[in-house]
């Protein structure tokens, strides 16, 4: 018989509660754990909903613990179940679906709800809060259907919601009661700088407006304000605050003020019942940010595991806005009164602002805008109530101007408590980071990220992690902090390429052995990179290593998330024929292609082909591969041009097809796109291509470094040429120079900025010998390329091993 363990019930499957359970598990707490959650999802990272809205993360990405985690830790999880009462007399908790579960200890972590303004019309369709996945889904759906949105509330959440909706293409107005945004965290100066920045990013503002009614029939169509003015809007997000979710506690007879009242050990008024997170009120304060809930959870976990712990004495809250390109920070006091001494610096050109408040020479608060590199040290100084000294002043204010100069780091992490949360997103303590350095020998931020998760989400804590690294490693920091191309080496791309040439290294294995790789066979980052560098250096002799290729390139087709593949036949210059179209249709029908899609580069995507059918599809298509998967020339997009268009001055279709044929199949550092236009109307959108070519009456204009992808960039004007031959020579030289100097996976948009446009122009335009040599080198490399599909179809054993499933 095993010993009966105490029963611990957690009510609320959110970050605060599950964070506490994780700590309890780490401390080896001997409990039988049951968790109840009202939402149907496992535990997710609520503060990252802004990223889901922004589109940079999916809901799956923000799940913190999947169902397997609960199983692995023997935790009984009931999702979609709401606890309605804790019965102290019988020591049972009671749920809405009639369950009764006995307990020895209970943690209430029911969080909070959006506060919905009690104005007429607030229950109409199209009015949501911004609190959970359902709200987020509603906002994503609204952006598909409607054009205008109003966000009521100019606080942290409201601004994040507004920016998210702007990114989704809506016309968004933020309605705020006061004249200053984020007035609970920022002073007037920072607030107006913030407003100006957000206006630049497309957010509109209606300041000093009190909403008195939401208008419309069933669905909202506008807002009416107390001054009689109105704002038309198809969708309204209420982000005016949160309301601790205390119903359960109230119904169970637990003392509730604004939140559930707890003492310094998170105990409520009912014996054996505890409370953490946003539903909790501690010393009169309810917290709505993430760091305090981890701090509370840590104290509670220790208390429940019988470990010694300091009492929880409240948190210093610091604010960071999760909007890309808008850096705002505040901690402690920020509005100055007569008793404060104020140190401030504002730079209107750099758009930065820094303010530090002292009371009796003690640092009690700070506000930063535009440059938040000092946020970690300032938060620390405020929290510890540090006295201002010349040394600290020099450190945080630099020579007195904004931005701080080269401040000496490390002072504050030294005195940081082990238990202090460094990464608020993932609840990583200073101790966890120090342990990762001392016990596992990690020396870089990337390694710390991989091991502990710190810096993995919003990245705001990266400066502190760096400071801790520096502090723990001391003098060895500089040396070890040098970043290689991945965690396997400290060598940079240029060093690796130089060593390959100097030592005549021929295979990735040789490179890794000779250059002392930490992981003998590298990883998924360096193996493809080194394989590329070898092919670039030895175009005629390097034997391409299939095992070092990312799946898409190894299989010459794009893998989809269900393991099926996408095939894209080549259509040079975006031109096809009725005969080819018929063949594509026949093959698609025969192999049950799920979707035929026109790609962004004017080609046909055959989506959803079974892995074992891929070679047959290629064989029956009998067309070259479109390389939609490759780090090489993807497509040359064209307009109709002089062949048919009344405005066309140059034959863009002919030139596009010629260029696509000439450069196809050659490996490049990253994917590469070209466009050719017949006239300056630019219908093929050459301004967002790696090379954009625009025909004019007397020749061609060449643009380079454009990108329409993750980091959009308009191409730089590179040169003008008169003849087709000159055009080809310039293209050859640009592509080869990029091949020889680009970092693996570096797009030309980044490459142009790193190398400098002028430098590239010097190398290629002002030095004819150089240009001709580059063009000759790419022609030599191009002479070596072969059609991988023909090769694969003639190599039965490789094809079988790669594509066919064995059966037993």
């Amino acid at each position: 018989m095993t010993v009966e363990r105490e029963k611990l019930v957690l009510i609320g499957n959110g970050m605060a509660g599950v964070g506490t359970i994780e700590q309890i598990l780490k401390l080896g707490g001997a409990y039988d754990i049951t968790i109840f959650g009202s939402e149907p999802h496992p535990n997710y990272n609520r503060i990252m909903l802004s990223y889901v809205l922004e589109g940079s993360k999916s809901i799956e990405d923000i799940i913190l613990n999947d169902r397997q985690w609960y199983e692995d830790n023997n935790i009984t999880l009931h999702t979609g179940t709401t606890v309605v009462r804790i019965d102290e007399a019988s020591r049972q908790i009671v749920t809405d679906n009639g369950m009764s579960v006995p307990y020895d200890k209970v943690i209430i972590a029911t969080g909070s709800n959006s506060f919905i303004l009690p104005v007429p019309g607030s229950t109409k369709d199209g009015v949501v809060g911004f609190r959970d996945i359902a709200d987020c889904d509603a906002m994503l759906a609204a952006a598909q259907q409607y054009r205008t949105a109003a966000v009521i509330g100019g606080g942290l959440l409201g601004l994040e919601a507004a920016k998210g909706l702007v990114n989704l293409g809506m016309d968004v107005t933020v309605v705020h009661l006061l004249e200053d945004l984020m007035e609970r965290q920022l002073d007037h100066t920072a607030s107006s700088m913030l407003q100006a920045e957000l206006e630049r990013q497309g957010v509109k503002f209606a300041m000093g407006k009190q909403t008195v009614e939401l208008t419309g029939e069933e669905r909202v169509n506008g807002l009416r304000f107390s001054d009689g003015t109105e704002l038309q809007s198809d969708f309204v997000v209420m982000a005016v605050g949160i309301k601790p979710n205390v119903q359960l506690a109230k119904d169970s007879g637990i003392t509730v003020n604004r939140g559930i009242v707890v003492n310094d050990y998170l105990q409520t008024s009912m014996a054996n019942v505890y409370s953490v997170g946003e539903c909790t009120e501690h010393r009169g304060t309810c917290y709505g940010l993430v760091a305090p809930l981890f701090e509370q959870g840590m104290v509670l976990a220790k208390h429940l595991c019988g470990a010694s712990t300091q009492p929880y004495e409240g948190s210093v809250v610091a604010t960071k806005l999760k909007i890309s390109g808008v850096d705002v920070f505040s901690a402690g006091d920020f509005t100055e009164t007569a008793e404060h001494t104020v140190i401030s610096a504002k730079d209107e050109w750099k758009r930065t602002y820094k303010k530090i408040l002292l009371r009796n020479n003690i640092i009690v608060g700070a506000v930063l805008f535009g440059d938040v590199t000092e946020s970690a040290s300032l938060q620390k100084l405020v929290k510890q109530g540090t006295e201002m000294t010349d040394e600290i002043y020099g450190e945080v204010m630099g020579t007195g101007c904004c931005g701080g100069g080269s401040a000496k780091k490390g002072l504050s992490v030294e005195t940081m408590a082990d238990e202090e949360i460094v990464c608020g997103c993932n609840g990583v303590t200073k101790k966890a980071i120090v342990d990762a350095v001392t016990e596992n020998g990690f020396t870089t931020v990337d390694e710390i990220k991989a091991c502990t998760g710190a810096t993995r989400s919003c990245g705001g804590c990266k400066p502190v992690v760096e400071q801790i690294l520096q502090f723990v490693l001391g003098d060895s920091f500089q040396e070890s902090a040098k970043q290689g191309i991945c965690g396997c080496t400290t060598l940079s791309r240029d060093e690796i390429v130089a060593e390959i040439t100097a030592k005549g290294l021929k295979t990735t294995k040789e490179v890794m052995n000779v250059l002392g790789w930490k992981q003998a066979e590298g990883c998924s980052k360096c193996r493809p990179a080194v394989n590329y560098y070898l092919g670039m250096i030895y175009p005629d002799t390097h034997e391409d290593e299939k095992e070092s290729r990312f799946v898409n390139e190894r299989m010459s087709a794009n893998i989809q998330k269900d393991g099926t593949f996408t095939v894209i036949p080549r259509m040079y210059g975006g031109v096809t024929t009725p005969e080819d179209l018929r063949r594509i249709a026949d093959v698609s029908l025969k192999y049950n292609v799920k979707v035929v899609k026109v790609t962004g580069g004017q080609r046909l995507d055959l989506v959803g082909i079974q892995k074992e059918d891929v070679p047959k599809v290629w064989e029956e298509l009998d067309m070259p591969s479109g390389y939609g998967y490759a780090k090489s020339l993807r497509t040359v997009k064209t307009c109709v041009g002089s062949q048919f268009c009344r405005f066309g001055t140059q034959d863009s279709m002919g030139m596009g097809a010629f260029i696509e044929r000439k450069y196809e199949r050659l490996d490049l550092p990253a994917k590469f796109k070209i466009a050719v236009n017949g006239c300056p109307r630019n219908c093929a959108e050459s301004c967002t291509k790696d090379i954009g070519i625009v025909g004019n009456d007397g020749g061609w204009e060449v643009f380079i470094g454009g990108n329409g992808g993750i980091k959009p960039r308009i191409a730089d004007a590179f040169c003008k040429v008169k003849t087709d031959d000159e055009l080809i020579e310039i293209c050859s030289a640009v592509i080869q120079y990029y091949r020889e100097t680009g970092n693996y996976l570096e797009r030309t948009s980044e490459w142009v900025e790193r190398m400098g446009l002028e430098n590239i122009q010097n190398v290629i335009l002002n030095n004819e010998d150089n240009r001709k040599e580059l063009a000759a080198r790419i022609d030599f490399a191009l002479a070596q390329v072969t059609d991988p599909w023909k090769k694969m179809l003639n190599d039965d054993s490789t094809r079988t091993a790669l594509f066919e499933k064995a059966r037993v």
């Binding site: 799956e60 998924s524 299939k546 095992e547 990312f550 892995k611 091993a801």
Partner: protein
């Protein structure tokens, strides 16, 4: 005999390219079999422990680690353990060599659908 295990031949050694996975279906189970550079063989279920799932056979193999092809999770082929900071486990199956033939040991139950 619910736990009866049996060895099934999945093909000769040469039909597995070094460091490149191969899919083998066994009844209603799909396996990904890997031949590492030291000549060892490993078999795992061809299904990523990532919440979105997906295949594993097409990943990059380094030593006895696999980088999954869709999400780049690092998985120890010996234990099936996903490496930090991600977590999860993929089912592993014993593989043996009988002369030139690769054999994988499976529960008979796999074949009773």
């Amino acid at each position: 005999m619910d736990s009866a295990k049996q060895e099934y031949a999945v093909g000769p050694v040469q039909s597995f390219l070094p460091q490149i996975g191969r899919v083998v279906t066994a009844g209603n189970l799909e396996l990904a079999i890997f031949r590492t550079s030291d000549g060892a063989f490993y078999a795992v279920e061809n299904s990523s422990p990532h919440p979105k799932g997906g295949p594993l056979a097409e990943g990059i193999v380094s030593g006895h680690y696999l980088y999954d092809p869709l999400y780049d999770w690092k998985i120890d082929l010996r234990s099936g353990e996903v490496q930090a900071p991600d977590h999860g486990t993929v089912a592993t199956f014993p593989v043996s060599l009988d002369g030139d033939i690769v054999k994988v040991s499976l529960q008979q139950a796999v074949f009773q659908s």
